[in-house]
């Protein structure tokens, strides 16, 4: 078991600053997800945790011990790549046993640990099968078995499900999280898929251009994004960002629109006139004939229980998640009500969220 801590860690490759001043802590036994688009520095950060890259600056601590310059092999961490790397000529048992054989463990010990691992993954019945004939899911389980059989202090996983199709990925997410709940090993998991992150993580760190944008529980990040980047990266469809141009003052509870106003959580800072973005999640938009915010329906996407309706307004495009029972016609003009206590406001130049009652917890419920 292990706690992983990064203190102002940076990494440059030539002129490129891949990771800039990252400080974060992964608590013992937690499932920690680093999420971001390709090139955001998440893989480099993970490789530094593993000891596969040396930081240019900063410290890495494993259970309080400074391991910054320690080699990968000395860190007792398992690195899981895309899960498919199995030895095709060996059976399941030998594939799982391989890392233990490399450590020259006695045979009975190897046997015991392999069987225990197979039980954990519920693949006991497959132990003597050849890897070649297994289904995709079983191959993934065997690959995972090979990583956990060593019982390392921590797992570092780099997009292990990246190569799978959506439906299967969803299934494996559930299994990985359940496995984590059974063995409770500290896990750092990298992905660019926000749904994977939301489904599995205890905490998520969202990265952009080498820096951490926000760290929090999935719910915090979803409900109270600290930047426009986070707001736009999380959610399917993501948060709507409406372009406004106005000044706001401490204590304001409404924003002026042409022909009306929108109520917002109480604003707790002053800002001179300038571009703002009003953030609203699709599920917090509803149709209301009398609403001041109006737009034209551009399209509807039927999803069974729900539908996504895209509406073009004077302030930008809005997607609303509505019940499929709501009748909406392409081309018709509708009024939009926004759920007041869930709205975010961003400085559209810096991308930073403005302080409001939403962020200080005074507005919920």
């Amino acid at each position: 078991m292990a706690e992983i801590r990064l203190e102002t860690v940076s990494k440059t490759f030539g002129a490129l600053a891949a990771v800039k001043d990252v400080t974060l802590k992964v608590d013992d036994g937690r499932f920690f997800v680093m999420l971001g688009p390709s090139g955001c520095g998440k893989t480099t950060t993970l490789r530094m945790m593993a000891g596969l890259e040396l930081p240019t600056a900063g410290r890495i601590l494993l259970d309080g011990e400074d391991v910054t310059t320690q080699r990968a092999a000395a860190r007792d961490i398992a690195f899981v790549f895309q899960l498919f790397a199995l030895y095709p000529h060996m059976n399941v048992r030998h594939n799982i046993a391989f890392p233990l054989r490399c450590q020259n463990l006695p045979r009975p010990e190897v046997r015991r640990r392999v069987e225990e691992t197979a039980r954990l993954l519920r693949i006991e019945a497959l132990l003597d099968r050849r890897v070649g004939g297994l289904s995709g899911g079983d191959r993934q389980r065997v690959a995972l078995g090979r990583a956990i059989v060593r019982r390392p202090k921590a797992f570092l996983m780099d997009e292990p499900l990246g190569a799978l199709d959506a439906e299967f990925r969803r299934l494996m997410c559930g299994e990985l999280r359940e496995l984590h709940d059974r063995i409770r090993a500290t896990t750092v998991y990298i992905t660019h898929d926000q749904l994977e992150a939301m489904a599995m993580a205890d905490r998520i760190a969202i990265m952009k251009a080498g820096m951490v944008e926000q760290i929090g529980t999935p719910q915090e990040i979803y409900d109270r994004p600290r930047t426009m980047f986070v707001a736009d990266f999380i959610g399917a469809p993501p948060m709507n960002l409406l372009n406004l141009e106005t000044a706001v003052h401490r204590g304001d509870r409404r924003l002026a629109l042409d022909g009306g106003a929108i109520e917002v959580p109480e604003i707790q800072e002053d800002r001179p006139a300038g571009p703002l973005a009003l953030g609203v999640r699709p599920e917090h938009v509803s149709l209301a004939d009398a609403a001041a915010l109006r737009g034209r329906v551009f399209g509807t996407e039927y999803l069974g229980t729900m539908q996504i309706v895209t509406i073009v307004t004077a302030y930008g495009q809005v997607k609303a998640r509505l019940s499929s029972k709501t009748a909406v016609q392409r081309g018709e003009t509708v009024g939009l009500a926004l759920q007041r206590d869930r709205l975010c406001l961003f400085d559209a130049v810096t991308g930073r969220a403005l302080q409001s009652a939403l962020y200080n917890g005074a507005c919920r419920g």
């Binding site: 959506a166 926000q194 979803y222 996407e301 039927y302 999803l303 229980t305 998640r321």
Partner: protein
């Protein structure tokens, strides 16, 4: 020609590869201007069906008609179709303009350059890539490349577009954007599209009609809403819906069964009412709440049988809560999985 004319018609088409029957007696008609999506898992026979229509495979039995003409024996070039593949398959050494113009410059067409220019310009505008026409395709993002690939099919005006998971190599956000755009373009131009995917969201959001396909057979062909609300059987019911429909053995729900032949009850989120008050009805326990942000899934244990439903944001549930379940107009299936129409009993 009226809208009733089938642009593509398959009649009892079968295709076998060695021991595998990839397509089995499949009949399907796509009307002029219609967007039909074939939905099924890997290996269901979706791609083979497209290839049979395109003329890239020959059927063992049955016939293929395009625009009213029997083409079962015609070579691909003689069929009036355009194929969009999952991979972009663009010419990397050519500009976006030349990639788009390429199909129009084939010796069989001999179109004048100004006609070509007009068509390319029109399609580029439709796809919002008009500012990229001078770029090399290698300098494009993934979304732009796939737009060019779709554009290359659109510059021609074939009777039907065949699309094989054209969005599946894109990231989630781009996929969502292109989904909406592809549908808009199809509506604006009135084009006929037969599209295959394993992604139920693509099928639900774009299709006029969905064909659910499995093991080479077309199980049901109908509008997304009809398939979602009135699936032919439990397999089809599971293909659509997020979270997936709960298939509950009827005996676990005691008195909920309206007819003796009901074996399984299919309950989607909208068919399940959960109350924490001790109402009548079967009692279950909240096992896990999965916060996916826009959707929070509640996992419930009903006498050892797991159920998943959407959390109601106005009803805060906690892990361990004991709840009673009430069903509202669920679906009913018989022993072999076929849906029983209760209204018809």
């Amino acid at each position: 020609m009226g809208r009733a004319v089938a642009e593509v018609a398959l009649v009892e088409v079968s295709k076998r590869f060695g021991a595998i029957e990839a397509v089995r007696a499949l009949s399907l008609a796509v009307a002029d201007g219609e967007f039909v999506v074939l939905l099924g898992p890997t290996g269901a026979g979706k791609t083979t069906t497209l290839r049979l229509i395109a003329g890239l495979e020959r059927p063992d039995r049955g016939s293929v008609c395009i625009a009213g003409r029997e083409v079962s024996d015609a070579p691909p070039a003689a069929r009036d179709v355009a194929f969009v593949f999952q991979q972009y398959s663009l010419y990397p050494h050519l500009s976006v303009y030349d990639n788009l113009a390429f199909p129009l410059r084939s010796p069989a067409r001999r179109l004048a350059e100004d006609v070509i220019r007009r068509r390319v310009q029109q399609v580029a505008e439709l796809l919002h890539i008009e500012h990229k026409l001078g770029n090399r395709t290698t300098a494009l993002s993934g979304g732009e490349m796939q737009r060019v690939a779709i554009g290359r099919a659109l510059v021609r005006e074939p009777a039907v577009y065949l699309m094989d998971e054209p969005l599946s190599s894109l990231d989630a956000k781009l996929r969502a954007e292109l989904r909406l755009e592809l549908k808009r373009i199809q509506v604006e131009l009135g084009t006929t599209i037969l599209y295959v995917t394993h992604d139920q969201i693509e099928a639900m959001t774009m299709a006029d009609r969905i064909g659910v396909i499995d093991a080479g057979q077309l199980l049901q062909l109908d509008t997304p809403r009809a398939i979602y609300e009135r699936p032919l059987n439990a397999y089809v019911a599971r293909r659509l819906g997020m979270p997936a429909i709960n298939l509950i053995p009827a005996e676990l729900l005691g008195g909920a069964s309206p007819a003796p032949q009901v074996h399984t009850i299919g309950a989607r989120t909208e068919h399940l009412r959960i109350s924490t008050a001790h109402a009548a009805g079967p009692v279950a326990q909240v096992h896990w709440i999965e916060h996916l942000g826009d959707q929070n899934h509640v996992h419930i244990d009903l006498a050892g049988h797991p159920l998943v439903t959407l959390a109601d944001p106005n009803q805060p549930l906690k892990v361990g809560d004991r709840v009673s379940l009430e069903l509202a107009d669920p679906l009913y299936f018989d022993k072999s999985g076929n849906r029983i129409d209760v209204a018809g009993l």
